[in-house]
């Protein structure tokens, strides 16, 4: 019944997509974790990060059984080093970022980190040996320092889902800072929620709300 579909399809897609970050390039997966080179071409970079995360996950029985704590640890170890959490949080906070004190900014990044980890982990329990990901041909300007890497993930029981990664070139190399799942950008989806919390309870209220969810 389409009424239910319209209600939930989007969140479902979101979930599907988030697991794909971690299954990037699984079909080509090597047996040993490859050295991630943040200075490489952006699509190669995303492919290696995803490959490594997926490989680790498959070889981890606890993760395969859906142990969220273990998956959280793995995400923290294998994915987060390549994500610019500060930038993700700053853009989600929008104009309110400047109103926050440096301490509040730090606390906000730390609080939002929990949400991001849960987002990846929640879907990670779905990754299996059949999931495979294809990095699509790079369409942007290869010399730009803000690029989008597109990918498509096929899975066991359904059609492939498109996931895009937005990356920024930093002095240390590429960092992922935004994620698009079937048309839904992660940062964009948190902007109103952040603004809402800040308008009602201030920046500390937002930090508290995020931390409450982290428990």
């Amino acid at each position: 019944m389409s009424f239910l579909a319209s209600r939930f399809r989007f969140t479902q897609l979101l979930q599907l997509g988030f697991c794909f970050l971690l299954s990037v390039g699984s079909s080509l997966s090597a047996h040993a974790a490859k050295q991630v080179n943040p200075q490489a071409a952006p699509n190669e970079f995303v492919e290696t990060v995803g490959n490594n995360a997926l490989e680790v996950l498959r070889n981890e029985p606890a993760a395969q059984k859906g142990d969220l704590n273990r998956i959280n640890q793995l995400v923290n170890e294998y994915v987060l080093p390549y994500v610019n959490l500060e930038k993700t949080t700053r853009l989600a906070a929008g104009r309110y970022w400047r109103q926050a004190s440096p301490e509040q900014q730090k606390a906000l990044v730390e609080a939002f980190k929990g949400t991001l980890i849960r987002t990846y982990s929640g879907a990670l329990s779905k990754v299996d040996e059949i999931s495979s990901l294809e990095i699509l041909p790079f369409r942007g300007d290869a010399n730009a320092d803000d690029v989008v890497v597109r990918s498509s993930l096929s899975q066991r029981n359904g059609p492939a889902v498109g996931v895009d990664y937005r990356l920024e070139k930093t002095p240390e190399g590429w960092k992922i800072y935004d994620l698009n799942v079937e048309g839904i950008w992660l940062i964009q989806n948190y902007r109103n929620q952040f603004a809402q919390q800040i308008n009602q309870n201030g920046i500390d209220g937002l930090i508290d709300a995020l931390n409450r969810q982290n428990q």
Binding site: F8, L14, K175, I184, Q188, N192, Q193
Partner: protein, 287 residues
């Protein structure tokens, strides 16, 4: 099938009672003030009430049934049922792709339906996906968007959930015109059979969304806003064709230039200097 019939009968009875009580509650709860108005959602006060109503019905009715269905039915059977309904939807997605002038998508989706209906045993097995033919979701709301109709305000429909004026009109038009994926089912003369199929479709749909639902609970600060904003972004992306056929080389697909990306420049420009400094200093926080 006995099980399904039982579920269905129960469904109708409970639904009737619930609808009556909760509809009233929803209407009465009507007009709360909106602390953080959003331009796309001028009817937020009403929408939030309707959202709560839908959530209540879901919690009391659809979700428990979907959980029971998941527990009782073996996964291959569920997958088969799910694929059959998806295959029916794919046919209409194909038609809409053609209506939008996205002929390449239309042909791909039509091929998908033909392949799955035959080799996939009536859609039971999604052989097309296994062979790399991707699903390109589409519907008449998107077609209206491609034809130039603006989405209009976001609206939460009773039972139907997230929509906007344009997409709601799209659903209505297609249902009246007899061109929805359920038209074939609705045409079945045997009423118990017809109702059973519709009930199974609803249960299947809800079951497939259980995990996503839990995920939203874990990550959303405000479920209402999260779902609304996801809906608005998703529909916009479908109309723009941004995620049309990932992986298929498609001439009309917009190049990923910056103007297609969400514009965060508001913050960047004012904040460029300040932003860069903490950005380099992020390494510790990213561990």
């Amino acid at each position: 099938m006995n099980n399904n019939e039982a579920i269905h009968t129960q469904t109708s009875a409970r639904l009737g009672r619930l609808a009556a009580t909760l509809a009233l509650a929803g209407v009465v709860a009507g007009c709360a003030s909106v602390p953080n108005p959003t331009p796309e959602d001028p009817w937020e006060s009403y929408n939030r009430s309707m959202f709560q109503f839908n959530e209540a019905v879901d919690k009391a009715l659809f979700k428990p049934i979907a959980r029971g269905y998941r527990d009782l039915t073996p996964e291959p059977a569920r997958t088969c049922i799910h694929n059959i309904f998806a295959n029916m939807a794919d046919l209409w997605a194909s038609v809409n792709s053609f209506l939008q002038g996205r002929g390449h998508d239309g042909v791909n989706m039509l091929g998908r339906v033909l392949f799955n209906t035959t080799m996939g045993l009536g859609g039971c097995i999604d052989v097309a996906s296994k062979n790399g033919v991707k699903r390109i979701p589409n519907d008449f709301g998107v077609t209206l968007g491609v034809w130039g109709f603006k989405p209009g305000p976001y609206v939460v429909l009773p039972f139907l959930g997230s929509s906007n004026v344009r997409d709601g009109a799209g659903i209505g038009t297609m249902t009246l015109a007899g061109a929805s994926s359920y038209t074939g089912v609705l045409a079945i003369d045997n009423v118990p059979l017809r109702n059973t199929i519709l009930a199974v479709a609803a249960v299947d749909l809800r079951e497939s969304l259980l995990d996503a639902d839990d995920l939203v609970d874990r990550i959303a600060l405000d479920r209402y806003s999260f779902i609304r904003d996801a809906y608005i972004q998703r529909r916009k992306a479908l109309v723009e064709g941004r995620d049309v056929a990932p992986g298929v080389s498609y001439g009309a697909l917009p190049n990923y230039s910056d103007d297609n990306l969400p514009d965060y420049s508001d913050d960047e420009d004012d904040d460029a200097a300040a932003a860069r400094a903490p950005a380099t200093g992020t390494a510790p926080s990213a561990q």
